[in-house]
Symmetry: D2
Subunit: 135 residues, 4 copies
């Protein structure tokens, strides 16, 4: 059992009617995608063709920041504000979409962009599933 899962199970308050395994999957995808994007920005920086990767680096940095803040907001359940949570998850899905598309352009040439594209798509999909569950 992951720590994400154990923390959800030991939360002393009410988590609401939200599907717990979906929430868990989304937190883990955000945390994972944030790290992957931070690493991809740095890997791009060390490529000889860095000048063709500047838009990718920028998207990586935005996406890392958005995923991180989303993982934080989703890890808090006290006094939750549903509208804000929805806006944050939507912005995160959008960042993952943009970053995944940008990484896809460089995936043939750079293996790290391929890995990052995977992480972004997985995170975008989980965010969209959570948005559907929010109703």
């Amino acid at each position: 059992m992951t720590h994400v899962q154990r923390m959800l199970e030991t939360y002393p308050g009410d988590l609401g009617r939200l599907d717990r395994s979906l929430l868990e999957a989304c937190i883990e995808a955000c945390v994972d995608c944030a790290q992957t994007c931070t690493a991809c920005a740095d890997a791009c920086l060390s490529e000889d063709v860095v000048s063709s990767l500047t838009a990718c680096i920028r998207m990586n940095l935005d996406c890392a920041d958005l995923c991180e803040v989303t993982s934080r907001v989703l890890s808090r359940h006290t006094g939750s504000c549903a509208d804000l949570v929805r806006s944050v998850v939507e912005a995160c899905a959008q960042a993952c979409r943009s970053c995944g598309e940008e990484c896809a352009l460089h995936g043939t040439a750079h293996a790290h962009c391929r890995v990052c594209m995977d992480a972004c798509r997985q995170c975008e999909q989980t965010c969209r599933e959570l948005l559907v569950a929010f109703g």
Copy 2:
């Protein structure tokens, strides 16, 4: 001249048709509100009546995180993605609105909540002005 302003003036690329002083004001308000919210969460923690301030602390933490990520996204101009920037600024305005309203409930009893309410309102307003300027 602030460093925010000097960095905008020395940016080597094109900042687009955006009003520079509005962008500057919004970055500064986000950076400022992030710090104020972090401090307000901690000030609430040290109040005897902390149990009546848990929703406020949660909002403070969310708002600090949202303002911080917004200040970062607005500080990047390379390969900008207008839709993402708009979503992030909207989510930030929403966080500032919720946090400002929550702090307003405690402003009479706790001076730090009054200061934080001011910072949130100022940040929300600047975010909304920027959203109007985005069109």
Copy 3:
């Protein structure tokens, strides 16, 4: 294979003589501990006895921030500055130590503090192993 691992394997530059599996373990422990501490701060907030947990919440917030920044610094390999990396990992180990000790005080009463204590101890240990490997 995790994304952390895949990003290390596809890094286009030189990772130096550092043990890759140790670096991977430390990044994963930091990312994991950051999320657990964010969740523990929030779980403490929703306890009836929140007034006895304020020092724990503060340590959780510090430790989450330290672990997050450490995971970011350790995910970057371009133009690395060994002294800075060491200082950051040391500060992280210290935050995990303090937070783990504080959580241990509440572990009998609160299951989430027990989980967080585990995450902190694991992260502290991995940081210390990495510091030894740095030499």
Copy 4:
């Protein structure tokens, strides 16, 4: 009066024997340097000679992260752990030193690196003054 200052003045607990204006100056320098470094990384990304600025971008990103976490830790006074605060401020001073030196190498060619060098030096100096005050 800045919000940083107003939040210190309305803190309901004991701030200890620390010089308040020094603490205020250090929080403000950290917050300011974090934003400047984020902006400098992005400005470097948009330079034609980005391939000669990759070490600078990496230092900018590390320094932004360190300054941000330091501003957060210094904004919390509840249940403070003096050793941790000292370690964080030391790591921040080190990041500012490294980033300022790297930016100094590019200051003649790039005005944004000159501004960033100023912000880093100011933040490093305030951190070191705070470390002296800690004793």
